[in-house]
Chain length 489, copies 2
């Protein structure tokens, strides 16, 4: 794309000024519509060093109320970020519905830079590209407007600008080592950038190349494309998008009704003996995980009153408190609801070497959100693949991902509900909603069966914990966890 790009005629100064004024006004006028339609707008600015994206960006945002946009500049990864999956620091920056996020440099900057400097092999680089395509597609599929701009100048122009900046001691600092390197290896960079743009030029999130030789002209082009892109997005309501094929190898999964809960129980004595043994083992393994910097993500789902909380406690009981977090997941806060549904899980990922336990998870999308109509059918249908993709990012990063379905039968639930109701110190644990959900048992069961079937991947498998006897379920969870960790170490 970059290589066969050719400059189009720039309008005369007077005409340009007129168009620029007009476009600035149009962008300003869009603000309320963007807000009302709850459109999240992600604007990515990439380009050659010294191409002027920063200064154009500075002009563009003057037309938007500061309450409605944020700007983030690509910076060196922090130690914290280095211990998260590659997409982490990008995913967490996505805008809220009705707001803009402008990124001065992005994942393109990062991965092409690493590839050019030999920090990523060809194979790793191609893997990154496919993660990036997935990431951008997940955003646009979920209603995000993603506008990607590349500020283009030729080698000579870049050299001239760098030299001018260097000559003045007040601007000298603005020339980075990377700019100098880029100019010296312009052709090599061009090749890589061209390839990157082609590989990530998706029909719903295409690249726009900005002729950046003249700043006003660059601003005009960007505003023109941005304003039109917003118009196009606003003219659509919720759009259903193709459901992609699940390309992940799946394990065979029994239906919930086929799972026997009988005889899945332990005596007090068996339980305490096993518990003690398992916890000691897990404590040791936790240390090893920490030293080897392997992250672990444990997801708990299950019926109300199935015993998730108690189960989790028996795991954390074995762990060093500095090395794990438990995330109880309730309905999303407004700032979470305003973003891609996986955002609140991306932001809660553990660092390498840490364990994160989720008490309820991203699977809410295909259970409660599906059944309560909090998202469209297209949304939850699409979610199986999106979730598999999310978990694949985690396992590719090196994480151990384990998912527990805590299973009880309907009678046991009734017993436990009644017990909660009748025991003063347990009453806080039972709400009207629990009873309402219970009425929808069959609907949930269908949804859970479909969920287990479609997301039981070989890399992030589901395990059913038979929990009519909580002791049995706790020991089973510990043993699976131990086994999965030992497999990895």
């Amino acid at each position: 794309m970059l290589k066969d790009w050719r400059r189009s005629e720039r309008p005369e100064d007077e005409e340009l000024e007129k168009r620029l004024e007009d476009l600035r006004g149009r962008l300003a006028a869009k603000q309320n519509q963007v807000k009302e339609h709850k459109l999240p707008v992600l604007v990515v600015l990439e380009g050659w060093g010294a191409a002027g994206k920063g200064s154009v960006l500075g002009k563009v945002i003057r037309n938007i109320d500061p309450r409605f946009f944020k700007v983030a500049t690509m910076s060196v990864e922090t130690e914290e970020e280095k211990r998260k999956p590659f997409l982490y620091r990008h995913f967490v920056k996505i805008p809220e519905a009705g707001k803009y996020m402008f990124l001065d440099g992005s994942w393109m900057d990062e991965v092409t830079g690493e590839y050019l400097h030999g920090e990523l092999s060809g194979e790793e680089y191609r893997k990154r590209l496919s993660s990036i395509r997935m990431f951008e597609r997940q955003l646009t599929d979920n209603g995000y407007l993603v506008m990607k701009f590349f500020f283009h100048i030729d080698e000579k122009e870049q050299k001239k600008r760098i030299d001018t900046l260097l000559e003045d001691k007040n601007t000298k600092w603005r020339v980075s080592q990377s700019d100098l390197w880029q100019n010296k290896h312009y052709d090599k960079c061009l090749e890589v950038y061209d390839n990157y743009l082609r590989e990530t030029n998706q029909s719903q999130a295409p690249w726009y190349i900005i002729d950046a030789k003249n700043k006003k002209w660059a601003e005009t082009q960007l505003l023109d494309i941005l304003v039109n892109g917003i118009d196009t997005a606003l003219s659509n309501g919720a759009v259903a998008v193709p459901i992609l094929q699940n390309m992940f190898p799946l394990r065979k999964t029994p239906k919930l009704a086929e799972i026997s809960l009988k005889d899945k129980c332990l005596t007090e004595e068996e339980y305490h003996r096993e518990l003690d043994k398992c916890q000691k083992k897990l404590a040791k393994l936790h240390n090893e995980l920490y030293r080897k910097r392997i992250p672990v993500i444990i997801a708990y789902e299950g019926w109300d009153a199935a015993g998730k909380g108690g189960n989790i406690k028996r795991i954390t009981g074995a762990l060093d408190p500095r090395g794990y977090e438990v995330h109880p997941i309730a309905s999303p806060e407004p700032h979470e609801k305003a973003r891609h549904y996986l955002w609140r899980f991306w932001t809660r990922l553990p660092k390498t070497g840490h364990i994160a336990i989720f008490d309820r998870t991203w699977y809410g999308r295909v259970m409660v959100e599906r059944l309560e109509g909090f998202c469209s059918e297209n949304d939850w249908q699409r979610a199986y693949n999106e979730i598999n993709e999310f978990e694949k990012e985690l396992t590719n990063w090196g994480a151990i991902v384990i998912k527990f379905w805590v299973q009880i039968d309907k009678d046991v639930q009734l017993e436990r509900f009644t017990d909660r109701q009748n025991t003063p110190e347990k009453q806080w644990k039972i709400t009207d909603e629990d009873w309402r959900n219970r009425e929808k048992w069959d609907l949930y069961e269908t949804a859970v069966d479909e969920m287990l079937q479609k997301t039981n991947t070989t890399t992030a498998p589901w395990y059913v914990l038979e929990s009519n006897d909580k002791k049995y379920a706790r020991i089973k969870a510990l043993k699976i966890l131990i086994e999965e960790i030992e497999k990895r170490l």
Copy 2:
């Protein structure tokens, strides 16, 4: 994609049978909705030889009324097709709104085959891929549902099937040379197919890989994806899609108002002398074009009564009737309107060595269709790029593409209209619509200026023919044509 594809569990026979029955019923039930929503459905079946796409296809179409679908099988290119652009024989097969087209083999089959057999260089192959991405995107952007399936079996399974077919003299004929070659070079083919699928896996027209080891299971997978794809498409109304950047180098274009019509005239004597000279020259060049098999496409647009017809006559007057066609373009017929707006131009392309003259053209999309509201704003905004892409396919194929805008001023139009009205033998040439269009002169002028500006590419340029004096315009057209042809020869 193919290389890391792994088989998912197939349901038990009984369960499979139940799902298959259900899906067949669902597809049958879709027919009326597809028709009412005027959804055009293009189903592409690709895969390994002997993977059974033909027999699965045979079963799938049993659920649809024959009036609502067509099936086309990839065949060897005819002599006629060989003399058209590579996309020609594929573009002409796209379905009508509300109908299905099933393709047993497609452009994938063609280009991967040619590439594997060394008939396409790596560079030519990549060009084809980018044409294919453009083609499929133009379809989905214009409301087509494009479903692409790849029937996958492994090397051993393919060998087994081929051997079984060969053993029986009744089925022996079904094994093609290409099937044998494919099996012998399975790994090499896998590599190329895998790459092809990845390169053309667009978010709006993704690939679906069908596990084709078991026929009923293959049919079930295909029906499931197809039915869901149709559901998704039906749930959307008209969707606005991103306007892509015009990546084509453009020539600077004056506005119509800046074009002087004064002094652009010839005396009768000059005219006849020039006409004679030009026509003789053109006749000679036409011969040469024919021998060198260079196709020429001449597009005429202009104001009503500007003199397009007479201008065209002076060109055809010089040509051998066996080597050109004139296509007068009126409003589209129902079967044309039911397809992508460029379809009726793809079907009218000349063979190599021939000249096609279009009296009015595909630019109707950004003039009359824009101004009369026959298409949405998103449609005509998108059309500039789509048209540039279309013309680029033509010039890449080797065609000379010349576009004439026949220009007169408003007074001259009035004179000619009045003259037509008052001259009995010319009255057929003037209608109420012409007068209505005249009232919209200013709106048209804005649209034409935008059109000229956005589609005046260096490879398919616009030329303005000043036609207040028709003689001047005719000679100018001839001279431009001669010059452009001479440049190429």
